[in-house]
């Protein structure tokens, strides 16, 4: 049962999420007594042998310029052709907007059971069972894949498996890429910000900040922590902050190492977007705010007084090295 890890690329660069999915794919290979390979689709400006640092020994590449944009039907055809050529039984993706476009179609094409949003290493003790989040993070499900071929999209920041660096062999595969009339006509990236789903630390603000003009305290804290910035739904709806910062059940769902909530009461819909964070800190002047029940650390106090002190204390910590 060999494992194929689909490398995560953005604009032709390898993303840091590759470390997690490669170590995850290697772990599946280890427990099932087989080998794992990494598939890079499209041209990559980074040296592919750097994937060896995460434990990738065999890297395959289909270096075709028509694969720079993720076109679902083209990607499905190319990955299916690669699997036919090199053989693979377990296909691993990082769960993100690209894999959400491709993995379901690949599942239907191959008749391969898909677990999307996996958070653990498969349990092989009784078939092949993978743990995933359901009910927007309020529960987990064990999903058994009943088919010979299996597809897993792994939620970022879910597993921490140590990786051992290996020598990497890169093999170019010759696969014909089907033509498509589909085109990307515009790309609008938010410059100079840490993308929320990739941020290790996220600072989020709610109505407790009282207005968009007060966001400076939050942004200062985000700057010293190199953190991504987010907001609650009422803040997004009131256009105090851009919509893409809205985290929660109907917004972005995140799982950073540290989530700091400022002036957010913690409605159940908000928690659904952030409850996979490793550590949650809540700063709110209302001691009855429900968010404190879901938090690891909390300060009951006026955020306009507390947050600047917090920023200063972290600066001091950094200065002390």
């Amino acid at each position: 049962m060999s494992v194929l890890i689909i490398a995560d690329l953005q604009e032709g660069h390898l993303k840091k999420s590759n470390a997690e999915i490669i170590s995850y794919g290697n772990e599946i290979a280890r427990i099932s007594g087989t080998s794992a390979g990494v598939l890079v689709l499209g041209n990559c400006s980074d040296n592919l042998s750097t994937l060896g640092a995460y434990g990738a020994s065999q890297v395959y590449q289909v270096a075709d310029a028509n694969l720079q944009a993720v076109n679902p039907s083209v990607y499905v055809s190319v990955i299916a052709a690669v699997i036919e050529q090199i053989g693979a039984d377990v296909i691993v993706f990082s769960n993100n907007p690209s894999s959400k476009s491709v993995a379901p179609g690949l599942s239907a094409r191959l008749g391969a059971g898909l677990v999307s949003g996996a958070i653990g290493v498969p349990d092989l003790s009784n078939g092949f069972s993978v743990r995933k989040t359901v009910f927007s993070g309020k529960a987990f499900a064990e999903v058994s894949i009943n088919t010979a071929k299996k597809i897993i999209t792994l939620n970022p920041n879910s597993v921490s498996i140590p990786f051992v660096a290996k020598e990497t062999v890169v093999t170019n595969l010759s696969i014909s890429v089907p033509a498509s009339t589909r085109k990307v006509t515009a790309v609008n990236k938010i410059e100079g910000e840490v993308p929320l789903t990739e941020a290790d630390i996220v600072i989020s603000g709610g109505r407790g900040l009282k207005g968009p003009e007060n966001w400076g305290v939050l942004l200062d804290l985000a700057k010293v922590l190199k953190a991504g910035t987010a907001c609650s739904r009422p803040v997004g709806d009131a256009h105090w902050r851009p919509h893409h910062e809205h985290v929660g059940q109907t917004g972005v769902q995140i799982a950073p190492n540290l989530y700091i909530a400022l002036g957010i009461s913690g409605a159940i819909q908000h928690l659904a977007g952030v409850n996979r964070s490793k550590v949650i800190v809540v700063i709110n002047k209302d001691p009855e705010a429900p968010f404190f029940k879901a938090a690891d650390y909390g300060i009951v106090g006026d955020l306009f007084e507390v947050v600047p002190q917090l920023t200063a204390a972290i600066q001091q910590l950094h200065a002390e090295g």
């Binding site: 379901p104 499900a141 009943n146 919509h243 190492n257 204390a313």
Partner: protein, 247 residues
């Protein structure tokens, strides 16, 4: 233009999540059922807007499930839509559900299939992509804007760190999220009209599920919040640095 909107029955977002039968089934006791918010607020309302612009548009709704789906189908018909299908099978396997909807697409030849970006209970986000592969049709996931063009459609979708706009031919399956449309509330005329709109119950195709949910589990309770005095912010920094090791 012929549009299909896929709607799913999900527990209300404030529902207590619990399980029965040795943690193998969701406990439905006291649960309020709603239309999956992404299906209702974004997929269905965008379809209704397209029909308002071009009254020659036909909107069909489909839900895959048992007779207990019918109240949410009627609610969706009260918002808009011309007729509805309920495909009579209960399954937690996305592929089984996608096969049923793709069979309907094959029969009715839809130009556009709208789904929500994911169901808030299963969190699979895979139905649309599977329908597109089987139908077959173009697939655009996580759409925040949708317009018809002479060539087909132009769709803006979420990508990591921003958005991209795609032009593609029809038929297309579009998974919808925030930005596509604004939530609406059904009016009395819609509610009355929905009672007489056709709701066809269709027998399901036999499909072997690719996956099975074998067990559910609730997360372990949090150890409890550690409160730090507002006069001692440095202590919070120390805890985050030395105890939690996250900064």
């Amino acid at each position: 233009m012929k549009i299909l909107v896929c709607i799913s029955k999900t527990p209300d977002t404030t529902s207590r999540i619990a399980f029965t039968e040795n943690n193998t089934r969701f406990d439905e006791a006291g649960v309020q059922w709603i239309i999956n918010p992404y299906d209702e607020w974004y997929a269905l309302v965008r379809a209704i807007e397209l029909k308002e612009k071009d009254p020659a548009t036909t909107i069909h709704l489909v839900s895959v499930g048992g007779a207990d789906c019918e109240p949410i189908i009627r609610k969706a018909l009260a918002l808009g839509g011309d007729e509805a299908f309920r495909i009579d099978i209960v399954s937690d396997d996305s592929y089984t559900v996608a096969r049923q909807i793709a069979a309907l697409c094959d029969r009715e030849k839809y130009d556009i299939v709208f789904t929500g970006k994911e169901a808030i209970d299963s969190n699979n986000a895979s139905l649309g992509g599977m329908i597109a592969e089987i139908y077959p049709a173009e697939y655009v996931s996580l759409a925040t804007q949708f317009t018809l063009t002479p060539e087909g459609c132009s769709v803006t979708r979420e990508v990591e760190g921003g958005e991209e706009t795609i032009s593609c031919a029809l038929p297309a399956v579009i998974s919808c999220q925030k930005g596509m449309a604004e939530q609406r509330i059904p009016n009395m005329r819609g509610i009355m009209g929905a009672r007489t709109k056709p709701l066809h119950v269709v027998a399901a195709e036999a499909v072997t599920p690719l996956t099975t949910i074998t067990r559910y589990e609730l997360p372990a309770a949090k150890a409890g919040v550690k409160l730090v005095s507002a006069d001692n912010v440095a202590e919070l920094v120390r805890l985050l640095h030395e105890e939690a090791k996250v900064i």
